[in-house]
C-alpha cells in the first residue's frame, strides 16, 4: 500500500484509499507513542523543515514531536524572525533551505494555494499545515481519526460542523475528508459565516443549533476567527454565544449523547462553555494526542516515496 500522492497539499487532492491508509497507519503509531520509549528509527536519514509563516502552537509542536518520534532531523523557521521580513520571496526562502539538503517541508502560510505553487517548483515532499482559509489537511485527518475512535466507521454517520465556516480551513478540509469517508455532513452557524453555494460540496446547511445537535452523532465546534474577519459578521460575541454557543443545558436537553470536538484554540464561553469543553462527552484532548500519531503516519507514508 502506498499513497497516491507525493505531497499532502489538501484533502481535496487525495483519495479515500489514501485517507484510510493514513488512518490505519496512525493506529500503529498511536501504539508507538504510548510505549515507554516513544520513538522509532524509520526517518533517521530524513531532514524535515518546519516553515511557519503564520502563528501556531498545537500544529507546530505536534509536527515537531511527530518528526522527533520518527527520528527525523528537524529545522524550525518562523517568518517573524527571518529574512522574510527583509523582503525575500517564498520560493527563494524555501530554495535556500532546501539547498541545505532538506527532504520534506511542513509549511503553514497565510496565502491559500501557497503549497500548490511550491509543489510546482521544488522536489521535496510538502505537507500543508494550513494555508490561509483554504485547507488544513492534517487537522481533518486527526479529526476523522478521533471520530472513528469514538463512533466507529464514519460511513453513514451524521457529523455537524458548527461556527465560523467561512473563514475556517479546518471546516473545508473536514468536509472533503468526511464526505470521502461516506459521512453525512451538516454545517451550522450564522448565515453570514456560511459560504454561499457550500451545498455544492455535498453538505447540508442549518441555522438552528439545537436541531443540528439533535441530528448529529458528532459535533465539531469551530472557533470564531476574529483575526480573519475584516467586517462585522454578527453584532457581538455575546449575541453569537446566545444563539450559536453550545452549553451543558443545551446538551442535556437532547435525548442522546453526542461527541464534542474542537480543533483549538477554544474561546471558552463563546462557542463552547467550560462545562462542555471539559465534560466526558468532549474528546478535545484525545484529538491533540491523536494529532501526533496521524502526523507521524503522514510523514512516514510520504517519506516512503523518497526512494534512496
Amino acid at each position: 500500500m502506498q499513497l497516491s500522492t507525493k505531497h499532502l497539499l489538501g484533502i481535496k487532492y487525495i483519495t479515500r484509499e489514501d485517507i484510510q491508509l493514513i488512518l490505519d497507519t496512525a493506529t500503529q503509531f498511536k501504539e508507538v507513542i504510548n510505549r515507554p520509549i516513544k520513538k522509532v528509527p524509520s526517518l533517521r536519514d530524513v531532514t524535515v523543515a518546519n516553515l511557519f509563516f503564520e502563528n501556531s502552537t498545537r500544529t507546530r509542536i505536534s509536527f515537531e514531536l511527530a518528526e522527533k518520534r520518527l527520528s527525523a532531523d528537524t529545522v524550525n523557521f518562523s517568518a517573524s524572525s527571518s529574512s522574510v521580513k527583509k523582503g525575500e520571496t517564498l520560493l527563494d526562502t524555501v530554495n535556500n533551505i532546501l539547498s541545505m539538503k532538506v527532504d520534506m517541508v511542513v509549511m503553514r502560510h497565510p496565502a491559500p494555494g501557497a503549497h500548490v505553487f511550491l509543489s510546482h517548483h521544488i522536489d521535496a515532499n510538502i505537507i500543508n499545515a494550513g494555508d490561509g482559509t483554504h485547507e488544513h489537511p492534517t487537522q481533518a485527518l486527526l479529526d476523522a481519526y478521533s471520530m472513528r475512535e469514538a463512533v466507529g466507521d464514519l460511513e453513514g454517520k451524521n457529523i455537524a460542523i458548527f461556527g465560523d465556516i467561512l473563514h475556517s480551513r479546518v471546516a473545508l478540509s473536514n468536509i472533503f475528508c468526511l464526505r470521502k469517508l461516506g459521512a453525512n455532513v451538516r454545517v451550522c452557524g450564522p448565515p453570514t459565516l456560511i459560504p454561499r453555494h457550500i451545498e455544492s460540496l455535498g453538505v447540508s446547511v442549518s441555522y438552528d443549533v439545537k436541531k443540528t445537535l439533535q441530528w448529529c452523532d458528532v459535533a465539531n465546534v469551530l472557533r470564531i476567527q476574529l483575526e480573519r474577519q475584516d467586517v462585522k459578521y454578527f453584532p457581538s460575541l455575546r449575541e453569537y454565544t446566545q444563539h450559536f454557543g453550545i452549553n451543558k443545558h443545551l446538551l442535556d436537553s437532547l435525548k442522546k449523547d453526542i461527541v464534542i470536538m474542537h480543533p483549538g484554540p477554544i474561546n471558552r464561553g463563546v462557542e463552547l462553555t467550560s462545562d462542555v469543553a471539559d465534560s466526558k462527552q468532549s474528546i478535545i484532548l484525545q484529538q491533540v494526542e491523536n494529532g501526533v500519531a496521524v502526523r507521524m503516519a503522514v510523514l512516514y507514508l510520504l517519506a516512503e516515496q523518497r526512494q534512496v
Binding site: 502506498q2 500503529q28 501504539e31 510505549r35 520509549i37 520513538k39 522509532v40 528509527p41 512516514y300 516512503e304
Partner: protein
C-alpha cells in the same frame, strides 16, 4: 509458482511443533520469568500455535504473550519497490529482566530479527533473548543471527521461496512449501 514442493506437512508438521514446545519446556520450566513474542505478521500465526500447544501441555494461566510489529524498525525502508504495511503491535507488558522467546516462521537473511531486537529494546532490557523459527534457511544469512529452536532446516538457493501455509483450523493440514517464481 513453479517447482512447487511440500517440505513438511501433516503428522510430521504437528510433531515438529510438539517437539519445539517440549524443548521450550526443557529450558524454561514453568515459564514464570519467560515471555513469548511473535513477530508480525506471519510469525504471530506460528506463535499462536506454540502458545496454544504450551497451554495444552502445561496449562500456564499467565504466560506472557505479545505480538510485535517491526515495520518501523526495518533497514530497507525507502529501498523496497512495494512498501510494507504496518501490522498491530500488542505488548501489554515490559520485558525488563525477562527471558524473551522471539517467534518467527522463517529465518532467512536475519534482517527481520535484527529489526525485532531493536523494537524489543523499546520495551525494556530483557535478561536473555532466544529465537524460535519454524524454518531455518541456512544459506544467505546477512547478519550473525541464529535460531535457538528450529522446526526444520532448509537448504535452498536464493531464487527459491519458502512459505508456511497455515490451514484455517488449528488441527488442519499445515504445510511448508518451497517454490520459485515464474
Amino acid at each position: 509458482m513453479k517447482d512447487n514442493r511440500v517440505i513438511l506437512e501433516g503428522k510430521k508438521f504437528k510433531l515438529a511443533i510438539d517437539r519445539l514446545c517440549h524443548e521450550l519446556i526443557e529450558n524454561h520450566a514453568d515459564f514464570t520469568e519467560t515471555c513469548l513474542i511473535g513477530v508480525q505478521p506471519r510469525g504471530v500465526l506460528f506463535a499462536d500455535h506454540i502458545y496454544n500447544n504450551l497451554q495444552k501441555i502445561l496449562d500456564i494461566k499467565d504466560l506472557l504473550y505479545g505480538k510485535l510489529d517491526v515495520t518501523f524498525y526495518r533497514d530497507d525502508f525507502r529501498t523496497r519497490n512495494t512498501p510494507l504495511a504496518a501490522s498491530t503491535t500488542k505488548m501489554d507488558f515490559l520485558v525488563d529482566g525477562k527471558k524473551v522467546i522471539l517467534v518467527d516462521d522463517v529465518l532467512y537473511t536475519g534482517r527481520t530479527i535484527r529489526a525485532a531486537l531493536d523494537a524489543l529494546g523499546h520495551y525494556g532490557r530483557p535478561n536473555k533473548v532466544e529465537l524460535l523459527s519454524l524454518v531455518d534457511r541456512r544459506f544467505n544469512r546477512h547478519l550473525p543471527i541464529q535460531s535457538d529452536y528450529i522446526g526444520i532446516t532448509v537448504d535452498a538457493v536464493d531464487e527459491a521461496y519458502v512459505r508456511v501455509d497455515w490451514a484455517k483450523k488449528s488441527n488442519g493440514n499445515h504445510k511448508i512449501l518451497m517454490y520459485t517464481k515464474e
